[in-house]
Symmetry: C2
Subunit: 130 residues, 2 copies
Amino acid sequence: METELKRGFLVRQRAFLKLYLLKMIEANKRYGTQFLDDLRTEFKPYGYHPTHSEIYKTLHELTREGWVRREKKLLGEPGVDFQEIIIYHFTEKGKQEYELYRKQMKVELDRCLGLLNQAMSDHYGPIKRK
Amino acid sequence: METELKRGFLVRQRAFLKLYLLKMIEANKRYGTQFLDDLRTEFKPYGYHPTHSEIYKTLHELTREGWVRREKKLLGEPGVDFQEIIIYHFTEKGKQEYELYRKQMKVELDRCLGLLNQAMSDHYGPIKRK
DNA sequence: AAATGAACAGAGTGTTCATGG
DNA sequence: CCATGAACACTCTGTTCATTT
């Protein structure tokens, strides 16, 4: 998949969101707008308010790369109140890619934490631990 | 100063570099290329290799905003081996702005660490402490 | 070759507009 | 009005080119 994990400085938003979306797709079968709402709620304490277009672009990318397939749910089906929605399911390829991606992102997030902790230590003294 | 501290997701590279450059200007009177070399060395373990243009653009911005003034050192002056270099000094305004900026960046870096730690916890279980 | 600077180009992302139910 | 999608525009940043010593 083409999404770059490493970019030298900090992890890209898209790569970060992808990790969350993959997890959400795996867990509960919800759809785009709900993913967005959930993420906004979770990140609110950190002042991070993702946009709907980033979510959709990430979902499109996952679809294009064959990690997930789309299933349309039409108005009237269970849980569909207003209009059609799109549910995402993993493909076989996607399951395997997710497993790998998750591992790679662990390394990447560790790297970013290292960089930020280094800056903390450089500018505000040693990191305090409880 | 116009550089945005917060951008919703993670801190921008420029804001991050600015914090380091201000500290280096305060500490030892060195010049652009040496700042770059020092930073590359320090961040090498984290796979981060800043570019010379980001460094200069940040220094230009600090100058434009009146936080620092430039002093040209000419070939032959003590420590100038090959050609002229530019040394940066704080202005009075710059000293005060740095103090403030440093405090703001602490908050911002804490926020970023919170976001990344949240992701770590969400995807790889609770944060391990020694 | 070292140091600085500027132009240019490409990636990343947010805002806005558009469409169908 | 909700859900999705696409177009567009702007910001950020890296690559390249230029100048001086």
